[in-house]
Symmetry: C2
Subunit: 546 residues, 2 copies
């Protein structure tokens, strides 16, 4: 069958890989490239049927259009923009003059993909949320392909899947096999954390990575926007924070317009932007533009001139936080804000006589985690008044802070992860997992396999507990990455996490994953993303940059 | 003093770095950025005096010109091209209309740099060699700066140094402090190994990295051009080798014109191109286009269909090698060719009855390293007839092959490195070191410090033995790097090796190195090279790509 030849060829061409190795390097077991029966689909959809019948796509006449019955029409710019984007991905370099055909003569041609939003509320102009319906059904067949989805979010994923089914046959003709796909994510929260404090990431870098997230069906950009080293967020209420706390107040900040652009760019791709403003630790940069916010540390009986975590004993601290998070709640439309709360160092608090006095007054004894909880508790109350839910790093839970029932606990500590997952879910909290997915740790070899083999629900707990795990995030902390190297370090390593969070639990064949991922990474390269190689191999079109 | 203010400012702006860290990651001790009294010079010259007197450079009138006394003039295109290149590096974005000044009014302006080749043989049209004189003296002062070098190679290094002295003062004015520098390399062989077999590296990537090598005063590009996975070298004598052995015969090969371009691009930057054609192991890709070259492996009494190392018992093998290396000797002008000889797996040879018979005939017993030596010995004799010297990986020496006195032994095995260095030099062989500098090994943190702390002569041996160590190479094997990620993975990690091989033995202050290297890496970024960050920090001009 022509279709079969076509598929085999494209896989060989796109993903031919070598099981050989340079013995100088010890590494994980090498996998051998074998074309997958699922082609290059990534992440693998829940149900896939690909037939051997091959249809052709004409760059001059192929159209992605709204189905007549669709509840979202020409006014839905989110979809219209997506049609153009996916047309570009599929036909990139090979656009031809439009040919006027009065009669369609080739029965093997697929003339169009109809996109059919089935729910009366398409959510075209809304924001994605943790509860969004991301499901879709895709039927590729004569006389036309149909993509059905209740909401635009599923339609976006379906367009990506459709584009992943398209391949070039032996003669370069764009082709797609007759297929039926029914798909939805296993987990609702599938995130990537980027850190714009340790290194500033230019807007271009953020957008390119949002683009790549969409190609991997990630749906949460966890924007760890500020931290100790710098404060690039330009606050309209407290402009001094970035004026004094950013690496540079003009060139290394995110203006309100920048933030808006990131949020809208993400929304158009079905991605939530969850901002993190981590306190009371990790706040050195806040102190530069907000006097008295941080605790003065003491050397003996005198202030040493250095500062510790946010000062939890001053009313002014809570006034500030109230105003600040009120702004954040309007700037970031997502229903959640990440409040951090990790790694609070008590040394400075312990050194400060005012803090010591406060501890006594409150009856906290020498237990500074009680002081931390005191602060966090007040902060959570403040944020609650802004009508936002919150996500916090696991220490906040570990320290026994009283949390709203809808709080999301973010598990990140690499040791004891499973027992932590048990405890957090036993306490009834919604949970997201990052501990096994700290992508800032690097080593020679195919570490993507390690990320891929993680089973997020592999902890002791009831079915009810497991349902509380709503997903996870790949974290790329910023110590050693900036615009020069972030993108290839993130991709396709984060793709392994993407499939783990999207596909069915049973999708664990590492060999099949290797073959699909090899071709997927070359597809990212063709789309202009410098995604690094998995092994000795080549892409038919190598990256064009340096 | 204005000069002092200027220097302090540019260092702060270019290299402000944070000693903070994300506790999530364990890492090497953090260094704190302190402006170095040597500014951003990298690698540090042998003798440096920088005064506080600041001079200004005008982009409209500053000139780099041949000194009247120079033995290389306008006909030396190597120098003329270098003048343009360095003008561009220094004045990149800020070119102004030429202003006609009849009288020079500003006494603090430095109007020109005169380049003075002092030796009657400038070597302008020659190729750099291991014996090349790379020394130079640079005097920056009124009424003009003078760069004196016996040969063009030293002049190229001096231009790089001059460009590294230039900084922007607080108002953006291009400035340079009055300085006197006398410089020469500690080691003659300072190389970078790139591997174009495991992944094909587009020409653009090779050229960008040659460019960056010159910015770090590296002078050898060790081109590990072919290996098991692919054979991208297009041989005019044996075109089938790449026709069948490359990843793709058109898009993934180096044509004769490509190779010429690499060599000339390197020559113009004072860089030797030492090609490696590794045999008898690491040759799977050779077998595809050259039947009978590789040893057929046996499963029991029958050929298994797989192949092992080069077949050392056939005359045809040596006929082929004779013709092949004759071509190589004319294509690559360097006086040395790297013949490999590492990691020969004897399993296949042992399985083959013809080989077994040959072993008996030769009285080799079961010692297959004797067979390996038999092959290598004949290969060395062949290459000797082409009037080339050779470099071989350490196993060839370890196995007791008879070597010409001028053979260079390349030490790469990570364990027992010091005793190997002792043995090789005790036997009187010239040596290059790579064992501590395998940059394909990666880990989170500042591994550049580890590379930097290596002392190549730190082995037991006489002064005579130490003199035999002519340098070393940073090796970036290609399993996990291609056009998408090679450049940021190599730089500035290889820069640490560059300084170790260039600067005086006593230059070991890691804190000073950190400060200079931080600014050097931002300079690479400004010059368009995506060199990755050392630590949480920023560059005033971040990388413009993604």
């Amino acid at each position: 069958m022509a279709g079969q030849v076509g598929i085999t060829f494209i896989l060989l061409v796109l993903g031919s890989c070598w099981g050989l190795q340079n013995n100088d390097v010890d590494e994980e077991p090498q996998l051998v490239f074998q074309p997958s029966k699922y082609g290059s689909l990534w992440p693998l959809p829940q149900k896939v049927q690909i037939s051997e019948v091959s249809l052709k796509l004409s760059s001059s006449s192929f159209r992605i259009i709204d189905a007549k019955e669709s509840r979202a029409g020409a006014s839905c710019s989110l979809l219209q923009l997506a049609y153009r984007r996916y047309y570009e991905y599929m036909f990139g370099g090979v656009k031809k003059q439009k040919v006027n055909k009065s009669v369609r003569t080739d029965p093997t041609e697929l003339p169009e993909l109809q996109v059919w939003i089935t729910s009366p509320e398409s959510e075209c102009d809304g924001y994605p949320a943790v509860s969004s319906d991301e499901s879709y059904e895709l039927s590729v067949d004569q006389p036309f392909a149909v993509l059905k989805a209740p909401k635009v979010w599923g339609a976006l994923h379906g367009l990506e899947t459709f584009s992943q089914l398209v391949y070039e046959d032996e003669y370069g003709a764009k082709s797609i096999n007759s297929s039926a796909i029914s798909d939805f994510p296993r987990f609702a929260h599938r995130g990537v954390l980027l850190d714009t404090s340790r290194h500033f990431l230019p807007l271009k870098v953020l957008l390119a990575n949002l683009e790549t997230m969409a190609m991997n069906k990630f749906n949460v950009f966890h924007w760890h926007i500020v931290d100790d080293p710098s404060f690039p967020y330009l606050s309209q209420t407290f402009p001094e924070l970035s004026q004094k706390g950013a690496y540079h107040p003009y060139t290394h900040v995110y203006t309100p317009a920048d933030v808006k652009m990131v949020i809208e760019f993400a929304r158009l791709r079905g991605i939530r932007v969850v901002s993190e403003f981590d306190t009371p630790g990790h706040t050195q940069s806040w102190g530069k533009g907000q006097p008295d916010l941080l605790t003065p540390c003491y050397a003996g009986s005198k202030p040493s001139g250095t500062f510790g975590p946010v000062n939890p004993i001053l009313n002014s601290t809570y006034d500030f936080m109230g105003q600040f998070f009120k702004e954040i709640s309007t700037v970031f439309p997502d229903a959640y804000v990440h409040l951090g709360g990790d790694e609070v160092d008590f040394t400075c608090w312990k050194s400060n006589p005012d803090i010591q006095r406060f501890m006594e007054q409150q009856g906290f004894g020498q237990d500074y985690s009680k002081l931390e909880s005191f602060y966090i508790q007040k902060l959570l109350d403040i944020v609650t008044t802004t009508n936002k839910g919150y996500i916090i790093w696991q220490e906040v839970f570990d320290n026994g802070v009283k949390l709203k029932p809808d709080t999301v606990v973010h598990v990140w500590i690499g040791s004891g992860t499973n027992s932590e997952m048990s405890k957090v879910t036993a306490a009834g909290y919604t949970t997201i997992l990052s501990a096994p997915w700290y992508l800032d740790y690097i080593s020679v070899g195919q570490d993507w396999q390690k990320y891929y083999r993680v089973e997020p629900l592999n902890f002791n707990g009831t079915e009810e507990q497991k349902k509380l795990v709503i997903g996870g995030e790949a974290c790329l902390w910023g110590e050693y990455v900036d615009a020069t190297n972030l993108t290839p370090r993130l991709w396709p390593r984060a793709s392994a996490v993407a499939e783990r969070l999207w596909s069915a639990k049973e999708v664990t064949d590492i060999g099949d994953a290797y073959s699909r991922l090899s071709v997927h990474r070359c597809r990212l390269v063709v789309r202009g993303i410098p995604a690094e190689p998995l092994s000795p191999s080549f892409c038919p079109h190598e990256y064009k940059g340096i």
